[in-house]
């Protein structure tokens, strides 16, 4: 396995994922395609929250705000301009990124744990504004009337494709960002902002960039999710249940790894599909699991798997340069002795 470079291995894993996503609509039933569309949207959001909180240390607990804004943007734009909704996820992404930029002055006034509640306040403000705006359907929400003329199987396939493209973008972004300088800066910043700044990491800019990127992708994914539902309301779109879903899947899978959210979201959907709709009991079980994992197995399910396999599917770990140098020097000195 060591003969393949970690980067090549990541590209290989991404290529396989892309191939599977292309194959799904060819082999799966319509019902399965709809389910996988939903999984792809939720997974994109979980990957982004993990990037922001798990790697960047910005524990944004009002993340539902981007899902809601993304959904509403797509609905309003498609309905009022009478356009095909699918390409409009790009607009959702742009609006969310702009909103992300607009809230940075408030957000970065609050550090650490306070940012968690502060971002929740921001999300509540947006929910209440939407709730009181009649042109946005107020409390009742709006439906995607632009989708009326679209044939059902075309609609399902196109929504699936959009969601799959968003997911691939999210995955590629995660791998490329985290393998590059930016990922290194991000993790340095999370471990110690002071030390990172001393090493030349522009803290505020790094934080802003990661917020904009994650906001944009989550907005697009939120738009995909509500394209399946065809209906968006402020209570559901800005619900704290979104945060519970994101948080529990990321924690269960393993926060701060790229594979973690993937495993977590799979666990979440497997539980949901097998346990059926038992509502509140389900959230109690997830909550207990999440607390247990945080306290006793912080690396999550992927961490537990990895201790067995010692293998990364999307490797982004780095060796300390000194460690490599030392080993090389040792080899050289041993060679000179011979």
């Amino acid at each position: 396995m060591n003969s393949v470079s970690p980067f090549a291995r990541s590209l290989f894993a991404l290529a396989i994922t892309a191939a599977i996503l292309v194959a799904v609509p060819l082999v799966a039933s319509r019902q399965a395609v709809v389910l996988i569309t939903e999984v792809a949207a939720v997974l994109s959001i979980a990957l982004m929250w993990n990037l922001l909180a798990g790697f960047g240390g910005i524990v944004f607990m009002g993340f539902q705000v981007f899902i809601g804004i993304g959904g509403y943007t797509l609905f309003v734009a498609a309905n009022s301009l009478e356009l095909t909704p699918f390409p409009l996820v790009i607009l959702s992404a742009l609006v969310c990124a702009t909103f992300g930029l607009a809230i940075t002055p408030v957000l970065f006034r609050l550090g650490g744990a306070q940012l968690a509640i502060g971002s929740w306040v921001v999300s509540e403000v947006v929910r209440l504004v939407v709730y009181h705006t009649n042109s946005l359907g107020a409390g009742g929400g709006i439906s995607l009337t632009a989708m009326r003329g679209v044939n059902r199987s075309v609609r399902i396939l196109a929504t699936y494709s959009t969601s799959a493209i968003v997911l691939m973008t999210a995955l590629v972004l995660c791998v490329f960002l985290m393998r590059g300088r930016f990922g290194l800066a991000l993790r340095a910043m999370k471990d110690s902002p002071v030390a990172a700044e001393a090493m030349g990491v522009p803290i505020r800019r790094t934080q802003t960039y990661i917020l904009l990127i994650t906001a944009a992708i989550s907005g697009a994914a939120g738009a995909c999710y509500y394209m399946i539902a065809l209906q968006v309301s402020p209570t559901a779109a800005f619900s704290v249940n979104w945060m519970a879903l994101i948080l529990f899947s990321v924690i269960l899978g393993g926060i701060g790894t790229l594979e973690g959210p993937i495993v977590g979201v799979v666990i979440y959907f497997v539980l949901r599909e097998t346990m059926g709709n038992i509502g509140s009991l389900y959230f109690i079980v997830l909550g207990i699991l999440a607390i247990g994992v945080t306290l006793f197995a912080p690396a999550g399910a992927w961490g537990l798997l990895r201790t067995g396999f010692k293998f990364d599917v999307l490797p982004i770990r780095r060796k300390m340069p000194s460690e490599i140098n030392l080993r090389e020097r040792k080899i050289i000195s041993e060679a000179s002795l011979l």
Binding site: M61, A116, V125, L128, H132, I284, G287, P298
Partner: protein, 286 residues
């Protein structure tokens, strides 16, 4: 209009009381509790059960509920929060958010999603005329009790051995231990106190408004806003932060009745930008 604003300020005293428990966590213990609002709602449900079972007035049930919530706070600190300290910002947020979701859903299972309230009895309708305005006895009582609790809390944390021990522990746990402080027990007691105060707030909340299992997060946001507006680490600041929040909300209801919370949130955000350290912030100790 004057009456609305006065009532807003009196509701603000209740927000200050919500905030006081969180203020102890965030400001004095420097730890977070995302389930703060859900513990308030839980206390209100507890009070509903106790008053229903014993057939007593909610105010008489207050000491018992406060005592139970003290024990709950103590246990939550020892069992959950304590294990996450020293591991960065994230684990305490995750664990207390998990608790919040569990509490909400447990309450949903036990008490259903119906909206409830505590019966204030004759207190509910009683009012006094103060000059041109009529003010309810219950809101006035809330203010008096709040001020009393703030005074006691400020005294406890400013001038007793226990208060010093809490502040020493949050400044530097290891040094505090070296000075002979049982840091974990001290924090457990402080958390118990925070939830006991929240229980008092919960009973006034239950008598003056309605609650259901999903109203917790909003309480937490109000509490947080009161703490930050007043200035982190300042006990009395939280009361004034709460009153400002209450005033803003009542001003909002004058525009459109359902607009109160939104205006409150906006005033908080503006306040955060204009006075980042809060109105009564203490200068940072070095």
């Amino acid at each position: 209009m004057l009456e609305t604003l006065i009532n807003g300020a009196l509701v603000g005293a209740l927000y200050g009381l919500y905030g006081l428990g969180l203020s102890l966590c965030l400001g004095l213990m420097r730890q977070i509790n995302m389930a703060h609002g859900d513990f308030i709602v839980f206390s209100a449900f507890l009070a509903l059960q106790v008053t229903g079972f014993l057939g007593i007035h909610p105010l008489l049930a207050m000491p018992l509920i406060a005592l139970i919530m003290f024990a709950v706070g103590w246990a939550v600190q020892r069992l959950f929060i304590e294990r996450t300290l020293g591991r960065g910002d994230m684990p305490p947020i995750l664990v207390t958010f998990g608790l919040s979701i569990i509490l909400q859903n447990v309450m949903l299972e036990l008490f259903s999603a119906d909206t409830r309230s505590l019966d204030p009895g004759v207190l509910g309708a009683a009012a006094v005329k103060l000059g041109p305005v009529t003010v309810g006895i219950l809101p006035l009582l809330t203010l008096v009790v709040s001020v009393g609790i703030f005074a006691v809390t400020a005294k406890i944390f400013g001038a007793t051995r226990f208060g010093r021990a809490v502040r020493a522990t949050s400044d530097n746990e290891q040094t505090a231990q070296l000075m002979g402080i049982a840091t974990k027990k001290v924090f457990a007691n402080a958390m118990g106190l925070a939830l006991a105060i929240s229980a008092v707030a919960a009973i006034f909340y239950g008598m003056r408004g309605t609650f259901d299992p999903s109203t917790g997060p909003e309480r937490m946001l109000f509490a947080f806003e009161a703490v930050i507006l007043g200035g982190l680490g300042s006990v009395w600041g939280t009361l004034f932060g709460g009153i400002i929040l209450g005033l803003s909300q009542s001003a909002g209801t004058l525009i459109i009745p359902s607009l109160g919370p939104l205006v409150g949130h906006l005033v908080f955000l503006v306040g955060l930008l204009a006075v980042p350290n809060g109105l009564f912030a203490k200068r940072a100790r070095t």
